[in-house]
Every structure is written in structure tokens, then in C-alpha cells.
Amino acid sequence: MTGGSVVVEGLTRRFGALTAVRELTFSVAAGELFGLVGPDGAGKTTTLRMLAGVLRPSAGDALLGGRSVAREPDHVRPQIAYMPQRFGLYEDLTVRENLSFYADLYRVPRAERPARLERLYAFSNLGPFQDRLAGKLSGGMKQKLSLSCALIHRPAILLLDEPTFGVDPISRRDLWLILTEMIAEGVTVILSTAYMDEAERCDRVALLNEGLVLALDTPAALRAGLEGAVVAIRAEDARRARDVLRQLSDIRRASLFGETVHAVVAEWVGADSLRRELSAAGVRVLDARRVEPSLEDVFIQRVAGEEAHA
């Protein structure tokens, strides 16, 4: 399957006074796994909706497989599949009824259906539940059914809005197995995610904030672009540790990552010096060490940098 490239040019969407997506421009090669990452309200969903042709751009355009979504959506739709963030299938239809409804909508030839269904059931482990109403499935199974319906017509481009949001770890792994398989077959995947480990799997990632692209590169390049080093500190009182670190002159940034404080420091600042400073301030440090910067570090720095400029 070829021709699944996506070219986004100046894509913009305004809702009244609010500009949800601002002149978005990027290209995704056929067969690429492309991630949209950003906080709530960054414009991820709006972007995917415009690419899926369910929301008209205020300005700009996107070419999916060479066809304009603004001007010829009828030519775009058969080659894409879109999975909205909110479960979009019919809860009062069974698993099988939902699948055959979507197979009909995309006019999948009858002769090919049994083989495709068998494969999708094998992928998703939904086979034993074919006659169950979609509304009675667990969250993870619903997402797998959604993805199966999206794949029934073998789209060249998959648009997925937070496909693993709120899904149990097993189903999440299943979903990624399916995606990996699709990418291996040459399907282009554009997905939004709030999970950094998922962003790490992408070929390239666009960091979105307030409708703007802050950075766009491979995860490795994005991490390499982080200025300074990261020291991860575990302390008895993580919150206090962060507050103390923020007072120090060598610290560019200190943020809580769960129970750990990530301090972005100048290259020459060692973990030991931070430990001493914290102990002097009366914070008991359990552990302090240099770590590889994660996408989350990059992301926080970029977003914060944006706010500092504003």
C-alpha cells in the first residue's frame, strides 16, 4: 500500500475568537508513524478532525494521499480511517454488526470479508465476543473494536485520537501490536497521545501547544535538543525538594514527575552538588542521579519556554 502521504499546509481552525489550530504545517511520509503530543487544548483533536474531514478548516488545507481534504473530501474518505477519542460505534449493535456496518459503508467486497474479519478477530481477540453488544464491552475491548472497524477497509492512512486513553495495559499492548503490524504493512499512522512512552515509539513527533507546533522531530533529536542535563532526585518530601531547587541559581527548571523531581541543570552541575544543597536546606534526599532526558522533559521545557516568551 503506497500513496499514504499526508501534507499539511497552513491548517488553521478558529472557533469564534479562539484559534484552536494555527497555521499548522508538516508532512508525513507514507508508512510513517507520526505523533501529536501536547496538553489538553493544544489542538490535537481539532487537527485530527480536520484531517479526517469532519471539521472544515478555517484556512489552509491538507493533502491525504495527494487529495485535498478541503476541496475533495469524497476522494479522501475511502482511503483513510478515523478513530475519534470518544467511542464512536453503536453500543446497541453487536461487535459483528458494527464491523459489517462499516464494511458496507466502505463497500468491502463480500468475498473478502471472512478473511479480513478472521484476521481482525485474531488481532483483537474479539472473536469470542462477536455477538456481544458493543455497549457491554470493556473500555479496552471497545477501543480494539473501534480500531478493527477502522481497519476493515484497509485504509492507507489511519488517524487515531488518543487510541489508548483510559485503556488497561493488556489492551494497550494489543492495540500497539496491531498498529505495529499495520505500519509494517506500509500504513501511515497519525495519532495523538498523552503518554510519553507512546510518543517515544513514533518515527517523528510534533509537540503542540495552544494550536502551535513548538517542535517537530524524531524523539531522539528532540531529546538531544534539550539544553542542559537532567538530574532526577528522590526525596522524602518531593514537593519541598522542588521548591528548594527552584531557588538555586544553577537550576533552569525543576518539575515533579510523580514522586521524582526532575531538575534541568547546566552541563557542569553534578548530582552530588544538588544533594548537598538540598541536605543543607534540610531536605532528606534518598537518591540523586543524572538521567537521560525524556520527551516529557523536552516537552515541559518547550511549553514553559513558550510561556516565558509570552
Binding site: V54, D74, P78, A81, R86, G88, L89, D104, Y106
Partner: protein, 376 residues
């Protein structure tokens, strides 16, 4: 594979999906199959303009055989039942005011004497004007009874050929049963309401449940979605009309003189229009609650009040008469009454058919136009 043009596969897929959903939704099933019959029975028994057995109070101050035979004439007519005998004139007002009697017949003293003296006797009839309709009818009956009574008194056995002998024959509804008028009209009112309500739910439900977003991203066009959604409801609507008409004939004894084919043809046209209107409301409202309420108000009231079902259109003020042309039930009710009671065919009903084709086209056009495959 091209996404252009109308695909029957997709249209039927939408119909099938809609039918499955309908089948599994008890609320819609009740709306589709139980409510029409329930409404027919309820309205069919409740609404009647026939005035029979009017409660009559009598104040006979004369107390003669002449006055008694006048009262007997009232009772013998079948239209009045004497429920109360009054003693004094002041009780008359109280009897009507309390609702004990709808009318009071007052026969003054000297009634018999006046009659035999050929002076021209007077009687008084007090009517409860609060129910203007019944009062008018009661007046008509009373007038006729008194007229007949006085002629008998004047002639006293002799016979005279009247100057003009009016022989009135009522066509199509010889017994003037109001039910015969009501049942065909009711079919129109019921179907207008049910059809619009049923489809009002369908698209609003897709928006509310979030299924529209994914549907909108597929190659299904809005024409396929709208027509596909309408198809099962047209089938249900035709079935409903058939069942209601049969019930009207069997339960209420309404005649069916015309052609079943013409009847069903008019029904399909009307349903497509009414269902299209429902889709239009549904697509514009986007929530099921708003959609059903708007559909109910937009269909039930005009269909009841402005279609000629309850009130004669010709006696409405000109402005309201003008508005009735916009009420599709007007044409359908004319058609159902025409087919059922008069047995008229296309030579008369083509006007109604033309208006309903227009209504159906408008309904479909509005439905597909307002329904945009776009969220937000």
C-alpha cells in the same frame, strides 16, 4: 473505489443499522407500534361532536295535558333526557350553573289556555352557552321539536301540503356520524406526529452518543444517510396507517369506499414529507430532548388545529386560512376523508397529491441540506 454517487449498499446498510437499533429500543418500538393505536382509540372515543341525550330540566308552571305533551315531544325526540323537574323559576339558573342540566324548558302558566285561544303561546328555553357547540345544536333540535309540536296543534288532524317541501339528503356520511369524519382525520394527525417524532430521535441520537463523528468520516454521503434512515420509518409508517385504518373500519365502523392503492400512495408521500421534517428538526436540534419536543409542537398542534381536523378551515379568519396551506396534514386529511368516506379517486385528489409531492420534496431537501457531515 470512488466515494462519489449514491451507493445502494451504503444506503441499505444505514437502513439495516437503523432497523436493528429501532428493534432494540423499547421506547422507539412503543412510539412506532403502540402509540398510534392507543391514540386512535383514545381520540376516537373521546372526540365526538354528536350531541345526544342532552340533559334537560323542566319547569312546567302550566301543569296541563298540553304542557305535558310538549315535554313528551322533547323526550320522544331522543335528543333530550329530562333529568330534573323544577318548582320555581329561580331554580332554573342554578340547575344550569351547577351543570345538572344543559338546558331548561320553561312552560309559563296559561300555556294551554293560550294555545286553545289561538293567541300564540310562548315557551322559554334556557341554554348553557359555556359549551357553545352543544348549545347551538340543542337550540336547533328544540326549535325543530317546538315547530313540529305547534304544527300539530294548528292542524289538529287536517293535512295541508306545505308550500316548499325541503327533502334533505346528506351525502357520504348520511347518519352524520362525527366519528366518520374524525377517524380519517385522526390517521393524519397521528401519523404526522409519530413520523416526525420517530425520525426526530434518529439523527439527534447520533450526535448525542458521539457516533456521528465516526460516521461522518466514512464515504457515506448525507443523502445516503438521510434516505437510509428514512426507509425503515416509511415502512413502519405505512404499516401503522394500514393498521389504524383497519382499526377505524372495524372498531368504529368507518366506511372505506375508495381505492386502497390511492390511499397508500397518498400515505407514502405524506410520510416522506413528515419524516423528512423530523430529520430536519433532528439535524437542527442535535439533542434528542429538544428534537422530540420541537417535533411534537411543530406537528401535533398544527395538525390538530389547522388541518381542518377539528375546525372547519373555511370558517377561520383569512390569516389562519392562509397558514393552513402550510400544514401538510391539511392535504392528507382531505385525501384520507376523500378516499375513505367518498371513495374519490385521482380525478379529485391530484391536487392533494401534488401538494404532498411538494411537501415530500421539501422535507427531503430540508433534511439533507441542514444535515451537515461536520461536527461543531
Amino acid at each position: 473505489m470512488s466515494g462519489m454517487g449514491i451507493s445502494l449498499t451504503r444506503l441499505l446498510a444505514v437502513s439495516r443499522k437503523e432497523w436493528i437499533q429501532l428493534r432494540r429500543d423499547p421506547r422507539s418500538m412503543a412510539l412506532a407500534f403502540v402509540l398510534p393505536l392507543l391514540m386512535l382509540l383514545l381520540f376516537g372515543y373521546a372526540i365526538t361532536w354528536d350531541v345526544r341525550e342532552l340533559d334537560l330540566a323542566v319547569l312546567d308552571q302550566d301543569g296541563t295535558s298540553a304542557s305535558r305533551s310538549l315535554v313528551e315531544a322533547f323526550e320522544a325526540s331522543g335528543y333530550f333526557t329530562v333529568v330534573e323537574r323544577l318548582e320555581a323559576y329561580r331554580e332554573a339558573d342554578a340547575a344550569v350553573g351547577a351543570g345538572d342540566a344543559a338546558s331548561v324548558l320553561v312552560i309559563p302558566p296559561g300555556f294551554a289556555a293560550d294555545l286553545s285561544a289561538r293567541r300564540g303561546a310562548a315557551v322559554q328555553l334556557l341554554l348553557d352557552g359555556a359549551d357553545a357547540n352543544s348549545a347551538t345544536i340543542a337550540f336547533g333540535f328544540a326549535d325543530a321539536i317546538v315547530d313540529g309540536f305547534s304544527r300539530r296543534v294548528v292542524l289538529e288532524g287536517r293535512t295541508v301540503e306545505p308550500a316548499i317541501d325541503a327533502r334533505i339528503r346528506t351525502l357520504y356520511n348520511p347518519t352524520l356520524e362525527s366519528r366518520n369524519m374524525i377517524v380519517p382525520g385522526l390517521i393524519g394527525v397521528i401519523m404526522m406526529t409519530i413520523a416526525a417524532m420517530l425520525t426526530a430521535l434518529t439523527i439527534a441520537r447520533e450526535w448525542e452518543r458521539g457516533t456521528m463523528e465516526q460516521l461522518a468520516s466514512t464515504p457515506a454521503t448525507r443523502v445516503e444517510i438521510v434516505l437510509g434512515k428514512l426507509l425503515p420509518y416509511v415502512a413502519i409508517g405505512v404499516l401503522d396507517v394500514a393498521v389504524t385504518a383497519v382499526a377505524g373500519v372495524l372498531v368504529f365502523g368507518v366506511p372505506f369506499r375508495g381505492s386502497v392503492v390511492i390511499f397508500l400512495g397518498q400515505t407514502v408521500l405524506f410520510l416522506v414529507g413528515a419524516l423528512g421534517l423530523g430529520v430536519f428538526i433532528s439535524a437542527a436540534a442535535k439533542t434528542q430532548l429538544v428534537a422530540t419536543q420541537v417535533a411534537l409542537i411543530a406537528t401535533l398542534l398544527p395538525a390538530m388545529l389547522l388541518s381542518g381536523f377539528l375546525f372547519e378551515i373555511r370558517s377561520m379568519p383569512p390569516l389562519l386560512q392562509g397558514i393552513t396551506y402550510l400544514v401538510p396534514a391539511r392535504y392528507y386529511i382531505t385525501a384520507t376523508r376523500g378516499v375513505m368516506l367518498k371513495g374519490v379517486g385521482p380525478e379529485t385528489l391530484w391536487v392533494q397529491a401534488a401538494f404532498m409531492v411538494g411537501f415530500a420534496a421539501l422535507g427531503l431537501f430540508a433534511a439533507t441540506r441542514v444535515f451537515r457531515k461536520e461536527i461543531a
